[in-house]
């Protein structure tokens, strides 16, 4: 089983920075194909490829482009989501670093297909060391007339700029992202209307992930069938995974859907460090599910992971070995969400505070049966009543861990409680 180089085809072929290198290797051919074949046919090809959004929600990209085109507004925007905030994820970083022109070409294509004239690459502040190179690449594209008024004499205009995030995980969510670009604290808005109808400046906005954009370019160039040759019927094509943690070869790998999680850990990740025994992986970022070692033969596809109560998410695979304790791990995840919760809605804001109380007790081993009961109640409310995807999905690691590590959520020792010594909830 080898790595595939479908989306990452040019990673080894040029330095990723020099536009001439990109052009020599077929750069902007997809844009030219779009200009000669027309929007309908091109979007049809993307739909036929079965590509699903790689930002986490897995929405069919072809359908998304079609809907974006239908949306009406005085101005329309496309935003490349390069906020990459899910802990354990660094694959968009590689796309920005090693083939930024492909991302830019994807943005121009998405702009034309959705009839938007303004594009923004929203890059997380943590990738500040990449910002200058991205801006330089954008300028080069203006120079060579791939951007701007009447690009490539096509009669189409498209402008592109970079926007820097400022270190807020929730700003990866479409509305929160729009709010931050409008000079506000980035908190999600309630839906409907949706971002695609009233997003940035209340205008139709297409938010699309960096990897999705890169995949679009490759699919247009090589055809839908070539993409579908990889993967399964329901999980078409290839995926960039970020493998990290207790493995010998952490890194970004492009793999066909359908490999097993064990292959990801042992083959691509190079196996567990120090010949230790595997314990679990967290799949898809901090909001992803926990899969114990005994289930690592599960296939890495949308459908197979769904049957285990988890999803592909951001494509992160964080590997833990026997020296890593599940409760301590979950506590780290919990701290992350408590810090990142934007506080706008009660279920997520207060749920995180209650979870902290419970996890502190689990670590101290002072936890009681009723705390576990309360944990269930909190998780249930968060999952069902949170305003945005953050609160709704951050329960997944806890729910799956309870499923697969039940012993961590049961009381081993009998504890004597003294009357009048009832724990108090953390004050708000």
């Amino acid at each position: 089983m080898n790595q595939v180089h479908y989306i990452t085809e040019l990673f080894e072929k040029y330095d990723g920075r020099n536009i001439d290198g990109y052009l020599k290797n077929g750069g902007f051919d997809s844009l030219k194909l779009l200009l000669s074949n027309g929007i309908e046919k091109t979007v049809g090809e993307i739909s036929a490829s079965g590509l699903q959004g790689r930002g986490g929600a897995a929405y069919p990209t072809g359908r998304k482009l079609k809907q974006a085109r239908e949306a009406k507004g005085e101005r329309k925007f496309v935003v490349c989501n390069a906020d990459e905030g899910e802990p354990g994820t660094f694959k968009d970083r590689e796309l920005l670093k090693r083939n930024i022109f492909q991302v830019i070409e994807g943005m121009i294509i998405a702009g034309i297909c959705s009839d938007a004239k303004e594009g923004i690459i929203y890059v997380r502040e943590e990738y500040k060391n990449l910002h200058d190179d991205i801006i330089k690449a954008i300028n080069k594209c203006y120079e060579k007339k791939f951007l701007g008024v009447n690009l490539l004499n096509s009669g189409v205009d498209f402008d592109l700029k970079l926007f820097s995030g400022a270190g807020a995980y929730v700003c990866g969510e479409g509305f929160a992202m729009c709010e931050s670009m409008e000079g506000k604290s980035g908190r999600p808005r309630s839906k409907p209307p949706y971002v695609k109808q009233e997003g940035f400046l209340n205008m139709p906005t297409l938010v699309i992930n960096t990897e999705t954009l890169s995949a679009i370019v490759s699919i247009i160039k090589k055809g839908a069938d070539s993409f579908k040759r990889y993967g399964t019927e329901k999980s078409s094509g290839t995926k960039l995974v970020s493998i990290s943690g207790r493995v010998n070869q952490p890194g970004v790998y492009e793999v066909p859907f359908g490999v097993t999680v064990r292959e990801l850990v042992e083959h691509f990740g190079g196996g567990i460090k120090d010949n230790a025994k595997g314990n679990f992986v967290q799949i898809g970022g901090a909001s992803g599910g926990i899969l114990p070692e005994k289930l690592w033969d599960t296939k890495y596809t949308y459908e197979n992971l769904e049957s285990r109560g988890m999803s592909i998410g951001s494509g992160a695979i964080v590997v833990a070995d026997e020296t890593n304790d599940i409760v301590k791990y979950l506590k780290v995840v919990q701290e992350f969400f408590r810090h990142e919760s934007c506080g706008k809605c009660t279920p997520c804001r207060e749920g995180n505070r209650q979870m902290k109380v419970i996890f502190d007790k689990m670590i101290d081993k002072t936890v009681a049966e009723k705390d576990f009961y309360r944990l269930d109640v909190v998780l249930n409310i968060m999952k069902n009543a949170s305003l945005c995807g953050s609160g709704k999905t951050e329960v997944d690691p806890f729910i799956t861990a309870k499923m697969y590590f039940p012993e961590a959520f049961t009381i081993k020792e009998v504890r004597i409680e003294f009357p009048g010594n009832d724990e108090e909830e953390e004050a708000v």
Partner: protein, 158 residues
């Protein structure tokens, strides 16, 4: 502690056409110019005035984003990652090395106001975890010697 003059605030706001939509890049740029790496009350007030928005809106934004600060910090900011991969790979030693080298505890600033040592969440360098960010530079797979080198090279203003 240096302060950003009204003139500098004026110039940055002018560059962004006094449009409050650009509040985030304006604040980021001003903080970048402040040697104590924060948005002071005076700067916040001046920005609010120039953009014709409320001071509380400016503070809402400054306090919401981790990359912005409303309190003074060291000239060099060192951030140690405490997210999932970096704890699985144990960042405890790394933290100790930086604390020893700087003679401060996590969350503190050195007496000469040169360095602040703080925690951060995932900086997308999990492949070289445990990872650390020193201003805009990212490091991983560190040794005790390398930590010393990184700090020594920044002890004095360049």
């Amino acid at each position: 502690m240096n302060s950003i003059s009204e003139k500098i605030v004026e110039n940055v706001c002018l560059k962004y056409e006094y449009d409050d939509v650009n509040l985030l890049p304006i604040l980021q740029e001003l903080q970048e110019k402040s040697s104590s790496r924060y948005i002071s009350e005076e700067v916040a007030r001046n920005v609010a005035k120039k953009l014709d928005i409320t001071e509380s809106r400016v503070y809402d934004v400054v306090t919401y984003f981790s990359a912005l600060s409303s309190v003074p910090r060291g000239e060099v900011i060192i951030q140690i990652c405490e997210s999932t991969t970096c704890t699985v790979n144990s960042n405890v030693e790394l933290k100790k090395w930086f604390e020893e080298e700087l003679n401060v505890s996590m969350g503190e600033t050195t007496k000469d106001n040169r360095f602040s040592l703080i925690y951060t969440h995932c900086i997308g360098a999990c492949d070289i975890s445990p990872a650390v960010r020193v201003d805009h530079d990212v490091y991983g797979n560190l040794t005790r010697e390398k930590v010393k080198e990184i700090i020594d090279s920044r002890r004095v203003k360049r």
